[in-house]
Chain length 321, copies 2
């Protein structure tokens, strides 16, 4: 089966693969064509997942399909972009119908949930890896970047942290847990929900934003560097799920929330005056610290003491000049 | 070295990696931002090259850098799109500074030649492969697709065919040739020149177009299927380079031109009235056949006899209903 037949059979079943909003031409020609309304810009991000590096192989292809799209779409959320479309470059050692079908089902399920249509891709033979490129649109000048944080801003996150890091020993089969603990943690790992609506709600309000993929400490380092400020994180204010607390205990749960990756929750800074209205509208905004003049970052314990060096991950955080 | 540092160090040296025309935000944030003028659409294409499948490993990383971008940009040419930008997802087993530097130099050289800027990407550890996604813009309604060929149209190509297929035994070290033969053939293979200007000149004139990557016969099959017509190719009219003729002889050279892949020359159909003006303007347009009502395609010899079944590749060609 040729690459075109393969990609069409398994992936073009997505409901919006042809003719979705903003998709002028979908799969099957040399290029796809996207329409961008006047005054808007196109947001683009690319993510690669490699078997044995970013996910265990073998794994459930349905879950992998969901996750491979979600982690890419999360970058659109981090820019405040409205989701449009994606391409998939799939490299696979064999054309295994069952695997491809399940993978495509997971991908399509996440595509529907996120409102993106598959517009093209490439299917090649080789060691298993997946590159997803996502496209969204955002009004010119309103994209959320990493570079606008100001001293005096609050540092906030969009939800519980550390769940995906907590799930990792379950994913790798190193530990087990009761269903009421394992299910929510594994759900966060395999099926992260890109915070698209929150990202769009933060347009014109947040001064900087990103999605947490490397862990809160490391990712706050990216904001600090791009904005040329210092970020202060209060360890006691990190939002933690009941499942994570029950699984790891308070101390380890906080470490997972600080240094674990793969949360795909938004982290952002905003002037204090913006906080109240967002909370009143019901957005999940948790204050975890603040922006100061300076560089790099500091981690404070419940008593306000600087405990930065004692935390795993601080080095990456501190490294940023 | 983290992925950001790696990608920045070696790839961000491209002159238009930041702030090129149409690039509102380049490398370094969650997404890149592209500006698309009102009335234009964004053209997108993705190509993956896998070591050992699409190129020999080891190979000259400079040449690989050139080629990996050129084959992707060629899809923009095939749509008549104006080139803007690209992303690179690079998976590599080791962070080898020399290799990356040479690869980036080749990539940047081709990026300059094609007028595209690197706007983002991902760098991951794993078996060597490269996924390039390219972006261009084209006035709404003027993109060249595969689906508009009409009976009575001429079938044309934009230059000599078969050179890359002829080069393959040289690339693989299976044969050698005198420099005056090897150099032009290897040049076509490693450094194909996307026909961007020709593609744009064909807007509003060609009724269908694509770039030849699978070989003329197979790719004409794609046009025939998408346009629901039959394509007739006259074997004697295929344009061949002096180097290919000297290397393979007339018979084998014509076979390479029909069934060899990787030419990245445009194939297109146009009404006969459009031919003269294009030739008068100096565009490289070679008539190789015509469009008829029907399905699939036919290959004719110098005497006008149907020789379709006798040619390698016919099956793929015929397969298209």
């Amino acid at each position: 089966m040729g690459e075109f037949e393969l990609i069409r059979t398994y992936f073009a079943a997505a409901p919006c693969a042809q003719g979705g909003e903003g998709i002028a031409l979908g799969i099957g020609d040399d290029c796809a064509l996207l329409a961008v309304p006047p005054g808007e810009q196109l947001a683009i991000s690319t993510d690669t997942l490699v078997a044995g590096v970013h996910f265990a192989d073998p794994c459930d292809p349905f879950l992998l399909g969901q996750r491979s799209l979600a982690v890419a779409v999360s970058d659109l959320a981090a820019m405040g972009a409205y989701p449009l479309a994606f391409t998939l470059a799939l490299t696979t050692p064999t054309v295994a119908a069952d695997w491809l079908q399940r993978y495509a089902q997971g991908l399509n399920a996440m595509a529907q949930r996120c409102g993106v249509g598959l517009v093209g891709g490439d299917t090649t033979r080789g060691p298993l890896s997946l590159t997803v490129t996502v496209f969204g649109r955002v009004p010119a000048g309103l994209a959320l970047t990493r570079s606008g944080a100001q001293p005096g801003d609050l540092l906030c996150v969009g939800g519980d942290l550390g769940n995906a890091a907590g799930a990792l020993p379950l994913v790798l089969g190193q530990r087990s847990a009761a269903a009421q603990i394992a299910e929510p943690l594994l759900g966060h790992y395999w099926s992260p929900q890109p915070q698209l609506a929150l990202g769009m709600a933060l347009r014109g309000k947040a001064t900087s934003a990103l999605d947490i993929s490397d862990g809160l400490l490391a990712d706050c380092g990216h904001i600090a560097k791009a904005s040329a400020v210092s970020l202060v994180i209060e360890r006691q204010r990190l939002p933690l799920s009941a499942a994570l607390l029950a699984f790891l205990g308070d101390e380890q749960a906080r470490s997972a929330a600080l240094s674990g990756g793969d949360d795909y929750v938004l982290a952002f800074t905003l002037p204090p005056t913006e906080l109240g209205p967002l909370l009143a509208e019901g957005w999940p905004v948790h204050v975890v610290g603040r922006v100061e003049a300076g560089a790099g970052g500091r981690l404070l314990d419940a008593g306000g003491h600087d405990i930065t060096p004692a935390v795993r991950g601080y080095q990456h955080f501190r490294e940023t000049p």
